[in-house]
């Protein structure tokens, strides 16, 4: 809220501030600087403490290594965080992400396998159907937020509760194992030496970035987030826009569900994507997007997701009991949030005087 339209600000200020100091200051103030620095610190820590951390081997034409492993495992979270970024930018929140992950994964697994009643569907149709279900979830959320005007947290709470129940009902709480080999390509296949999941993330990122930067959509989303009333009075179709961001968020979550299901070769309606919404919100916050809406950074959210996964990896590989992971995560959130708040800056400024 303190620095609205942060992404656009450096361009405007650099023309007036030509001197060196201001340029350096602008670099420090760049929204990506802090998340990248945090990631760098973690990576340096890993490089020092974990032998052969940056070692990447080529085996069977596939690249193997810790770094690639981290990126691969972070893929579902990166997708969820990308979608969540758009929602948070409009002052919303979507806590149904985990439920949508479970639902889309379950639908895909069941359609690919085929049930006693219906024969197995072709892969493409099954994936499309799963994403269609995710899209429906998003439209539902969007309609509740923009149409019925429920608070976003309440509106998505409904799907969070019912969505997982629906997935569990479909599978009767059982884990559905997938036997269709071509389905595994998405989550554990390789393309040009790299995991396919990374290409999925890259494609989604590129698409969203294009929409946000090369079309007016990004500006509209920021406008709605900064002041919904003013945006509506200025003639923006805020309701359509809000439905769009929730639909995009659920689609991203559905895609994440496909990656997870394909990676573990089964759909687990009880546990797939459990608490993923919290990690996604955390990734978005770490990436420098303000929870108050408006200012958002898609790249920041990707970095945020990588920070979380690297942190998890570091904790595991240092031999620290994994139990500590959550405590560390919690402390990181506290520190990041407090450091983002304008009140802290005011406190710090007052003290030296």
């Amino acid at each position: 809220m303190n620095a609205p339209l942060h992404d656009a600000a450096p361009a405007a200020s650099s023309s007036s501030a030509l001197d060196d100091q201001a340029a350096r200051f602008a670099l420090l103030r760049h929204p990506l600087t802090r998340p990248l620095a945090a990631l760098l610190v973690l990576l340096v820590l890993d490089a020092v403490l974990v032998p052969g951390f940056f070692h990447i081997a080529l085996r069977d034409g596939h690249l193997y290594g810790s770094v690639i492993d981290i990126a691969n495992r972070a893929a579902p979270l990166m997708l969820a965080a990308l979608g969540m970024t758009l929602v948070i930018a409009t002052r919303g929140i979507d806590i149904s992400v985990g439920a949508v992950v479970a639902l889309s994964g379950t639908v895909a697994a069941m359609l690919v396998n085929g049930t006693p009643g219906s024969p197995a569907m072709p892969l493409g149709a099954a994936l499309a159907a799963a994403l269609g279900v995710a899209l429906l979830c998003g439209l539902w959320n969007g309609a509740l937020v923009a149409g019925v005007k429920l608070q976003p947290i309440v509106a998505t709470l409904i799907l969070m509760t019912a969505g997982r129940g629906l997935a569990q009902l479909l599978t009767d709480g059982q884990i559905v194992t997938v036997y269709e080999d071509s389905f595994f390509y998405l989550g554990s296949g390789y393309l040009a030496g790299l995991p396919v999941s990374l290409f999925v993330v890259a494609a989604v990122f590129a698409l969203l970035l294009f929409l946000a930067r090369r079309t007016a959509l990004g500006l509209f989303i920021q406008a709605v987030g900064l002041n919904p009333v003013a945006a509506r009075l200025a003639g923006l179709r805020t309701a359509t826009l809000i439905v769009f961001v929730y639909a995009a968020c659920s689609l991203c979550a559905g895609m994440a569900g496909l990656l997870i299901t394909s990676n573990i070769k089964s759909a687990d309606a009880n546990n797939a994507g459990l608490l993923l919404e919290l990690d996604a919100i955390l990734a978005v916050t770490l990436g420098g997007t303000s929870l108050a809406g408006g200012r958002f950074s898609l790249a920041g959210s990707l970095v945020g997701a990588l920070i979380i996964q690297t942190l998890t990896y570091t904790i595991y590989s240092l031999g620290v009991p994994p139990e500590v992971n959550m405590v560390v995560k919690a402390i990181v959130v506290f520190v990041v949030c407090i450091s983002q708040s304008g009140e802290l800056r005011a406190l710090l400024k007052r003290r030296p005087a």
């Binding site: 509760t161 129940g165 919290l278 708040s341």
Partner: protein, 326 residues
Amino acid sequence: MNTAVKQPARNLFMNAPWFTSAITVLLLAAMLGVGGAVYPGLLSEQVLFNLLIDNAHLVVLAIGMGFVILSGGIDLSVGAVLALSTMAAAWLLQTAHWPPSVVIVCVLAGGAAFGALMGTIIHLFRLQPFIVTLAGMFLARGLCYLISTDSIAIDQPFFTALSQAQIHLLGGFLSPGAIIALVVLLLAVWLAHFTAFGRAVYAVGGNEASAAMMGLDVGRTRVLAYALSGFCSALAGLLFSVYTLSGYALHGQGMELDAIAAVVIGGMLLTGGYGYIAGALSGVLVLGAIQTLIAFDGTLSSWWTRIVIGALLLVFCVVQRLLSKA
């Protein structure tokens, strides 16, 4: 507001907070009535008492959540604090061999302190309650795992005696936990409607700026509301550890959502300042009744519980939304 004067009497009646709360009570009665007609035996006294016995911890949890929501915030950490309390109680009793009275006091004080800390951070740094209590949830769950990753069974005599005790009443029996939950409810109703703190909570939730202009201490009210929620979560944790005779880090998964759902179904508005604390009881009983009905039916899988709760949440939120617009 001029419009309020001109509003027809019917609308004022529709707008009254007790209207949505009354709907819940009617719904509960209807559910039990229909259930009793379809499944004989459902309406026995003990089945109804069991509703309270099995959900005593949730009632206490929802009361704490109610105060936070009335003050315009939200507390996502209640389920995790409940788990941490069961864990701390079990560890202190079984491993450290502290006397039960000291354990109970320490756990309750710890819960209140945890809540107060989150409230302080929310107020001092003007952060969103949602994200701070989310971090609190991570922290509390993480601390559980630091104590132990396994479930700890409690065989301390006082706790086992409490868990087996039956208080006979009107031909049935209640557990001490259910009695405690009812006492807490009475205290909470008194606190909300008959004390300065309660009025301050409603004022802050209704409109923070005007509450501050009236000279109310917004920060103190808010921190106290979160401290109260932390205290209630810890008490709910103690009740739960007596109910299950164990401490486990995975206790209370998703219970924060049950508590929020109960409070919303009980007629409270999530924007704050609207509704009754007593709604926590009717909300929890509706949730419990859904579970009981599904259990009595026997043919519906238990997954239906979540779907029905979701549908109920939807109906209540939409109805409230329409009412507050009218």
